[in-house]
Amino acid sequence: MVVETATQTVKAGLAQMLKGGVIMDVVTPEHARIAEEAGACSVMALERVPSDIRSSGGVARMSDPSLIRGIIDAVSIPVMAKVRIGHFVEASILEALGVDYIDESEVLTPADESFHINKHQFAVPFVCGCRDLGEALRRIAEGAAMIRTKGEAGTGNIVEAVRHMRSVQGAISRLQSMGDEELVSYSRDIGAPVELVRQTREMGRLPVVNFAAGGVATPADAALMMRLGADGVFVGSGIFKSEEPARMANAIVRAVTHYEDDEILAVVSTNLPRAMPGLEIDKIPESEILAKRGW
């Protein structure tokens, strides 16, 4: 019997199993248990949530393996962890730890200003951020098996996530009316391989699962991203920076399942604990905009 592991099918397949779910940032095993108890479909293990990375400054790196191991041992759901853009050694370490998905993330300080990781070389699948269709397809060309729109992590402000999701979805809908001759020059303009652009046109969606991320702070934010076409939602600071993480986590999970049911959304949005405070994007210095990291 021929058994194949680490194929694109099984890599992209795990992301398909996460669809309709919420992936939560956690910094301790205790957080991870709260997230699993609330119905998270996966957790992202990291040392500081993005809003703390933002406020404390300095170089943000992969988390300590002992922290990641502790979180892997604490829950039965898949565990993701972040590496710096281009840092393929951090990625090898996470693969050795048995992490289920690696996020090559702009939330950490980039390690390489020219190249992302060649993700085809790894057995573990990768998720990468994007702001538009070209960026999404470049990451897929490098081997990403899942995409998330970047948004602006650690702000509690949904505006950038909406901008990026609309940009991707808008480009895909314009693709539908393009002929083959237009496809080549369009691919050149957005800097993406023409084969992936063609595949996207034929499928009418990104060729891999696409979650929303960066700024989701409330159940309504999460449902908004689902209605804009996200396959699921990452919540970073939004849960453990709210006043009652367990209740907020529960409410966001329900909002993602019932994103089209206004009555359920009204119920889960009622008397919620205070959401994280949030930042206005134009008050953030240009150099601290995380979404601009990655190319």
């Binding site: 099984v10 398909q16 039965s76």
Partner: protein, 239 residues
């Protein structure tokens, strides 16, 4: 990229055809897909490919309108919680016991099992078997393999196992449809118990429609029985 990979990823349009009981029922079978979390859209595409009408099921009311139910792949802990929170667990158990065809793939197979190794919420206890979660290991141990056709017609079936569970024991009366592995230690990966089916892999991620056809066949038989004996559906269908 393997073309099969994303076969099931076309977006699913919102279900609009709400039926009023059995009145105005068209010829096609209505198969529900539990849409709480997971790859329900992939199942919907696979079902439409074999000619079924598909409804997404998120509430007990949705459940009362279907001739069969697929519990998709996804995260079993998440689906188990949402099934309880939205009062779907009891109605699914009732309708399953009353003969509604139900098919669970991966997470769905876990939830159908009588006994589940390490799940912190009750499942549906409908199929007398023991299933162990994540029993092949973590994601890097996920794999694809050809499985001998067993009781199905045609050649081998390509099966995709993602953080898959293993069926450890099955009771008498549970038919093993497909087995995986070397001759001496072949383990069940697809089983049927009356009109209940469970597979530890993901037929919805390939274009091989044999298992979806088999399930839609069970749903059609069920719908025909109900048409003759409307009390059958009412037994568990009121939700």
């Amino acid at each position: 990229m393997v073309s099969d990979t994303h076969a099931g990823m076309e977006p699913v349009t919102e279900l609009t055809a709400h039926r009023m009981g059995d009145v105005g029922r068209s010829g096609s079978v209505v198969v529900g897909v539990l849409a709480l979390q997971g790859d329900f859209a992939e199942h919907a595409v696979a079902l439409r490919r074999v000619g079924a009408e598909v409804h997404e099921v998120r509430t007990a009311e949705h459940l009362s309108r279907v001739d069969g139910l697929i519990i998709p792949g996804g995260e079993s802990t998440t689906i188990a919680r949402l099934m309880i929170a939205y009062e779907l667990r009891e109605p699914i158990i009732e309708r399953g016991r009353a003969g509604l065809p139900i098919w669970g793939t991966c997470a769905g197979a876990i939830l159908l099992a009588e006994e589940i190794v390490t799940l912190d919420r009750p499942g549906l206890h409908l199929v007398p078997m023991t299933v162990e979660r994540n029993a092949f290991g973590r994601q890097i141990d996920s794999f694809e393999a050809d499985v001998a056709p067993g009781e199905l017609e045609g050649g081998p079936l390509h099966a995709i196992f993602i953080r898959a569970p293993r069926i450890r024991t099955v009771a008498d009366g549970v038919d093993v449809l497909l087995r995986l592995g070397p001759e001496q230690e072949r383990e069940p990966v697809a089983v049927q118990y009356g009109s209940l089916m469970a597979t530890t892999f993901h037929p919805e991620l390939t274009e091989d429609g044999r298992l979806h056809e088999r399930f839609v066949g069970l749903c059609a038989e069920y719908a025909a029985r109900v048409a003759l004996q409307p009390g059958l559906a009412a037994a568990g269908g009121s939700g």
